[in-house]
Symmetry: C2
Subunit: 364 residues, 2 copies
């Protein structure tokens, strides 16, 4: 158990955006919301998963929708509160703690904003260890935990409570409702017991995010380039150095979908990297080689500052380093790959772990 104040939030926001692999929302907005709440209500208690009683009710707080919409329509915090209240009424139980459903600039931060307001602790665990675009894409789903009862709440005062036969149906109906609600909504779903979070969550993810953020901050203070150290801290691999030469992005069916291409620099001169995304970066390849694919993490970093760039933040001409990070082992199981592997997203490639792709020696 320890306290999370403003410096910790700043660091976690950066690390979360990096593990968010382009999605999970803008780190600036998320950070602001968490900081405002901490300034108003005080620091937030962070619990290790072990510190949560087995029978305590824990519920992640998150935003659903296209991150491109979040830029225009930041949640007020009231929606998250309404969603939690509705869920408590529905379940007839009090929520003991909250936690992030995924890593991401917004979705790692929202639980802190809500926790500060409600005086709840946050648990150091999430349901992905990265970000993914659909709501059944959580380690909890792999272990059979229901998303429902699921509450959606928008900033206008509309709420939807879903009870579905499986989590894929939750995704389908909630996505359609979210589109009507203006493209994004706050959610309270995947209510579970402490023991479920311990067994099925990705633990110590906030600690990792904080380490990443701190590494990048310290490097800046020392005018150093943090990328090598960041790659080491996440046990990742540098994949490509390049300059954005084309970016094609549209918001459809509640998702930000698109492709970015990077013209190689330095050791990648003459090569072109194509990056496909749906809210998150999903596949990185050159004409010759596959570099990394979902469920492994693909992060695009500013070549100088090492700061992560979200899919909606990719700008023409930006100099970037693209890195790959092995995903949580649960994603590499049969059900994991069926849920979030490259074929699920329509890419006709067989999954190969990033460390094997890197070992092939094509990269120095």
């Amino acid at each position: 158990m320890r306290k999370i104040g403003i410096q910790e939030i700043e660091d976690i926001a950066v690390g979360a955006a990096l593990l968010g692999t382009g999605g999970g929302g803008d780190p600036y907005i998320g950070k602001l919301m968490a900081i405002q709440a901490i300034e108003e209500y005080g620091e937030v208690t962070l619990l290790d998963a072990e510190e949560v009683p087995d029978d305590a009710l824990v519920v992640p707080s998150s935003m659903m929708g296209a991150p491109t919409v979040m830029l225009e329509k930041a949640p007020s915090g009231e929606e998250a509160f309404v969603a939690f209240q509705k869920l408590e009424t529905y379940l007839g139980d009090k929520i003991y703690a909250t936690f992030p459903i995924e890593a991401g600039g917004v979705n790692s931060m929202l639980p802190f904003a809500l926790a500060a307001k409600l005086g709840l602790p946050v648990v150091d665990a999430d349901g992905m260890g990265r970000a993914f675009p659909e709501l059944q894409m959580v380690t909890f789903y792999l272990d059979g935990i229901a998303a429902t009862p699921a509450v959606l709440a928008d900033e206008k005062g509309n709420t939807v409570v879903l009870s579905t036969i499986d989590n894929v149906w939750t995704e389908r109906i909630a996505r359609a409702a979210t589109v009507q609600m203006g493209g994004s909504a706050m959610t309270a779903m995947y209510a579970m017991k402490g023991r479920n979070l311990k067994e099925s969550g990705v633990r110590n993810i906030l600690k990792l995010e904080e380490t990443i953020g701190k590494t990048i901050r310290k490097a800046k203070e020392n005018n150093a380039n943090p990328i090598r150290e960041v790659v080491k801290s996440v046990k990742g691999f540098p994949l490509f150095s390049g300059k954005v030469k084309d970016i094609n992005r549209k918001t459809e069916s509640g998702f930000a979908r698109g492709t970015a291409t990077f013209e190689g620099m330095h050791e990648n001169k003459g090569e072109t990297l194509t990056l496909r995304f749906q809210n998150e970066h999903l596949l990185a390849r050159t004409e010759e080689r596959l570099l990394c694919m979902t469920p492994d993490l693909i992060a695009v970093l500013d070549a100088e500052t090492g700061l992560p760039i979200t899919t909606e933040g990719i700008r023409y001409g930006a100099r970037c380093v693209v890195i790959g990070i092995p995903c949580h082992p649960k994603w590499r199981t049969e059900k994991g790959l069926a849920t979030v592997g490259p074929k699920y997203f329509g890419y006709d490639v067989d999954y190969v772990p990033v460390e094997e792709l890197a070992k092939e020696g094509v990269r120095s």
Copy 2:
């Protein structure tokens, strides 16, 4: 108070389909469902609105979605039951009686099927006196009665509970959810007290439907044409005699939208009638004259049997008589016309009551 058995159901189904103005679902399916339930559970008690206690909770049971989908996917009855159960749990109150939300081959019948199963009475009132495509289009909405809490249930076992800031938002979100649920869902919404139904409902609508159905049935038994008598019983106007020469229909965004054209016969020889619909018939005009428009009722009848034809039942070559019927006076108020007038549906015409259009003397 009286009992509704199989003969009454047969008659009401036909009259309801006629007042359904092309929408409200296929009368054959609705009738079958009500008859099966009455055969299994016994006759249903029909109450006059006056017989319902002011404080009793009454809830209409209806299907939402495109009638073209209902043809392929008839509700089992279980969904309606689940929707009522969920709503009772949510409200913490027992439902005293049910009633139809609108006139229509399916939506006038479903309350009888559910009532038989649950042993509830049906009240002789609905929320339209006809059928309309969107769920805020009820006389209850004109009087400020909320649609929510609104429950949707599908045949797979998914449910959605909506709580929205107004009934237009209920429509938007419920429509999107319904599309995901396969194009149709059973609903329990517009829960109200007996006094609300008395004040805001369209009363004695089932009695009128039964009269229409009986008139058509008796005429068939006597080999007579019932259209003249039907027109009289609904205080309506014959508008056009013609043969279907073109029908253009598609299901989009959960609605069956389209246009039918009729080549004039008899006194309409040389004229062409164009009929526009969105689940229900909304506008009837020739090149020269407006004949009838929403919210007044436009019914397409088989020229020989007088049986009503739904939008999805209009077939090339069919000989029809199109009739117009004045709507309930609530629809002719300012809010009524803003909600369901021709401009709401995108037709750039000012509303003129069907009796005035008929008086203009162009018709004999």
